[in-house]
């Protein structure tokens, strides 16, 4: 059984159809890259999978581990193992990163019927994880993303990914706003978290990110559909010839 199956998905935002029948299958352990020009519907896809309000699914279905994902509340999807790394992580003043991580982790555990982690156990876990990702402890004491650099924000996303141990990670435009060093650090984090049980869907504009996170399968999106899928060489090809050739295909 596939981890994620998106079948003929049609999605509208405010009366305008953005996805016109999108199909995508992701298996455990695979790394997929979804590429495409602005407005092709890449971010819409990630938002619909995560359950962001404001999108109307008019047709098709999304199965996650065989279950109907669209029937689940967004927080339920998170507890079941869907993780979205945001393009622009938000700032939450007055809430320390540590407090946020604990609240979120325990909310997920509770939803799964597991016991909540007590403070000492949680601290131990968060220290281990942040150490393995080279994330300074000081970052955990600051307000969530408040005053973080672009790179720090993305590392905070990777930290959460590591801590919550999701089975599906969707990385939405992870490379936006990062310089090459920050990009490498963030990508190293993602690679460290790749495992045979965990799938990654990397959404990106540029081939550049795929030098660091090497995909098994590359999909090209245009005008709300996947118009071509292939191996990692497809990304290279796109870098050279651009997206224009797919405009007509869509």
């Amino acid at each position: 059984m596939a981890l994620l199956e998106v079948k003929d998905l049609k999605v509208r935002v405010e009366e305008r159809e953005i996805l016109h029948g999108l199909t995508l299958t992701v298996n455990e352990g695979e790394i997929h890259a979804i590429m495409g020009p602005n407005g092709s519907g890449k971010s819409t896809l990630s938002h619909v999978i995560a359950g962001k309000p404001g999108y109307e699914v008019t047709d098709g279905q999304i199965l996650f581990k065989g279950e109907d994902l669209l029937e689940m509340a967004p927080e339920e999807r998170a507890a079941k193992g869907v993780f979205l790394a945001f393009q622009y992580p938000v700032e939450i003043p007055g809430v320390t990163t540590m407090n946020f991580l604990r609240t979120a982790l325990n909310a997920q555990r509770k939803a799964r019927g597991e016991s909540e982690l007590m403070v000492p156990d949680f601290l131990k876990k968060v220290r281990e994880v942040s150490k393995s990702l080279n994330i300074p402890q000081d970052m955990l004491k600051r307000g969530v993303n408040v005053g973080f650099s672009g790179g720090e924000k993305k590392r905070n996303e990777v930290l959460q990914m590591a801590l919550f141990e999701p089975s599906l990670c969707i990385l939405d435009e992870m490379d936006s706003g990062l310089d090459i060093d920050a990009l490498r650090i963030a990508a190293d984090g993602v690679n460290a978290l790749h495992s045979p049980k965990r799938a990654m869907v990397v959404i990106t504009h540029y081939q550049r990110l795929l030098n660091y996170i090497v995909p098994d399968i590359v999909h090209v999106m245009s005008k709300g559909r996947v118009v071509k899928s292939g191996g990692k060489e497809l990304a290279q090809e796109l870098e050279e010839s651009g997206y224009a050739q797919f405009e007509d295909a869509a």
Binding site: A50, G51, K52, P53, G54, A73, P74, E75, A78, A79, F83, L84, F86, Y88, P89, V90, I92, P93, G94, V95, F100, T103, A104, L105, A107, Q108, A111, G143, Q160, F164
Partner: protein, 498 residues
């Protein structure tokens, strides 16, 4: 904006059910005849066995009140109050002198128990210390004065406070037992002619707390008063007077609840604080009067005058308030910075939901040299509520080197509520440094979705964001209260989202 829509829908459902303290205690009570007249004032004074000077003081206030009109400048809207349709005095029966908690009507004790207020400190009252090893080191002692409708029903830890020289008793008792102190200070911060509601209070106040901390004494425990309005159509007019003599320190907490009723109840309190040289008073309030139901029916009208006088040099007065209840709030805890190098602080969290209307803020009046003040105000509006911060910062001609920092932040939940900031700033000398910052923001869809994507429910997400928003102020509360207040904030917003 579906999440906003959802928020709005949930807000609509905010209901009396959310108010946990809406029960009524069935006890017999002794009431003054309905309405306000010289007779009512005399009745109250007589009930309290007051000396003649006190009655005179009240009558003067009453006559003054007759010449005054209700203020209308606040951004609140309510039907005219019929002051003749209220009871001005109500005391639980049977009325006799109470010497220990065991003599208090068990129904009243049960009420306080339901409210989670630790009144039953009987052992401590009788001077029995806990056995070694049995005391809980994490639990600081708090002396409690409980005011039920118009009278104080019990004050705990009296003996222990006496040892330290601290006087903590119902003001009605202080009038009889410490007339020299009461005469000297009562009305010295909020004069009987101050404003419509304060003048009314001066005429008919029935009880409240009195605190005197002698020179150089650090009050050994937190002092606390819990006010409960129970009787129908009763106004509660408590009067609190706290004096910190030279070099002393006291921290005082105040909590308020009332049953759910269809009609509005009037609460018009006066609090006066006096800090002498090098003294410090910390006054914290968690106000949770009944806010009214989902149609805006019922709830407490809270018209309160609170003022602190930093009378001595280097004195300090700090107000911290968490306001979640009341249908109408009209309240401006203020500091008169009279002593040189004195300082005043105001930390406030005001939450409004449903049809609540809040007009609250502070006044910092700089009179002495090198005085400083700090205002941190956090207003949170949800439902169809209106939340106004109104503040005055003023420096007198002679108040050289006055400094103020003000930060007013408002947070909106949904799109049917309003937040307003009305600052008045006046500097009559050129050496004053006043800073004012204000922000208004909405809880954004993006922030909520971020939290929800990490596994939080909509309600948990709002709670987390709001608690982050008010953190600076919560930190000012004594620890026990901070935990309570945090819970209270979540409860009062429970109706506003999922």
């Amino acid at each position: 904006m579906p999440a906003v829509q959802e928020t709005v829908d949930r807000v609509k459902r905010i209901d009396v059910d959310q108010y946990r303290y809406g029960f009524e205690t069935l006890i017999e009570s002794d009431k003054a005849p309905k309405g306000l007249s010289e007779e009512t004032v005399k009745f109250i004074s007589e009930k309290k066995n007051e000396p003649a000077w006190m009655l005179q003081w009240r009558l003067e206030a009453y006559r003054r009140w007759l010449t005054m009109t209700e203020p209308t400048w606040a951004r609140v809207d309510y039907p005219k109050i019929d002051f003749q349709d209220l009871y001005y005095y109500s005391a639980p029966k049977p009325k006799k002198t109470i010497t220990s908690l065991d003599e208090i009507d068990p129904e009243i004790l049960k009420t306080y128990e339901k409210l989670g207020i630790p009144l039953r400190e009987v052992a401590m009252l009788e001077g029995v210390e806990p056995k070694p090893g049995e005391e809980d080191p994490n639990r600081r002692k708090i002396a409690v004065d409980a005011v039920f409708d118009s009278v104080s029903v019990a004050t705990t830890f009296k003996a222990e406070l006496k040892k330290a020289g601290v006087i903590f008793m119902p003001i009605s008792e202080a009038i009889r037992e410490h007339p020299e102190l009461v005469q000297k200070y009562l009305g010295s911060v909020v004069p009987t002619s101050d404003n419509f509601y304060a003048t009314l209070n001066s005429a008919v106040f029935s009880d409240g707390s009195f605190v005197y901390v002698p020179p150089g004494v650090r009050c050994p425990m937190e002092l606390s008063t819990y006010f409960r309005i129970n009787e129908r159509n009763t106004g509660q007019f408590e009067r609190t007077l706290i004096i910190a003599d030279k070099g002393s320190y006291v921290s005082y907490l105040e909590g308020c609840t009332a049953p759910q009723r269809d009609e509005n109840q009037l609460h018009a309190a006066v609090v006066e604080l006096v800090a002498h040289d090098d003294a410090e008073i910390k006054y914290s309030t968690v106000q949770n009067w009944y806010p009214g139901n989902s149609e805006g029916k019922g709830g407490i009208y809270n018209f309160v005058t609170k003022r602190g006088d930093c009378r001595g040099d280097r004195s300090k007065i700090s107000w911290t308030q968490v306001e979640t209840g009341s249908a109408i709030t009209w309240k401006y805890p203020s500091c008169i910075l009279r002593g040189d190098n004195s300082s005043g602080e105001f930390y406030s969290i005001a939450i409004s939901n449903g049809y609540q209307q809040v007009d609250s803020g502070t006044k910092m009046i700089h009179l002495g040299k090198n005085t400083s003040s700090r205002i941190i105000s956090k207003g949170i509006a949800a439902g169809k509520s209106q939340n106004t911060y109104r503040g005055l910062v003023t420096a007198h001609r002679k108040a050289t080197g006055a400094r103020n920092f003000t930060a007013c932040d408002s947070l909106l939940i949904g799109d049917k509520c309003g937040a307003h900031t009305v600052p008045y700033i006046e500097a009559k000398n050129s050496s004053a440094t006043f800073e004012h910052e204000a922000t208004t923001s909405k809880i954004s869809e993006d922030v909520l979705f971020y939290c929800i994507q990490r596994g939080l429910s909509q309600e948990e997400a709002v709670g987390l964001v709001v608690n982050g928003f008010v953190k600076d102020v919560l930190q000012q509360l004594p620890m026990e209260f901070a935990v309570e207040a945090q819970k209270l904030i979540s409860i009062s917003l429970e109706g506003s989202v999922g």
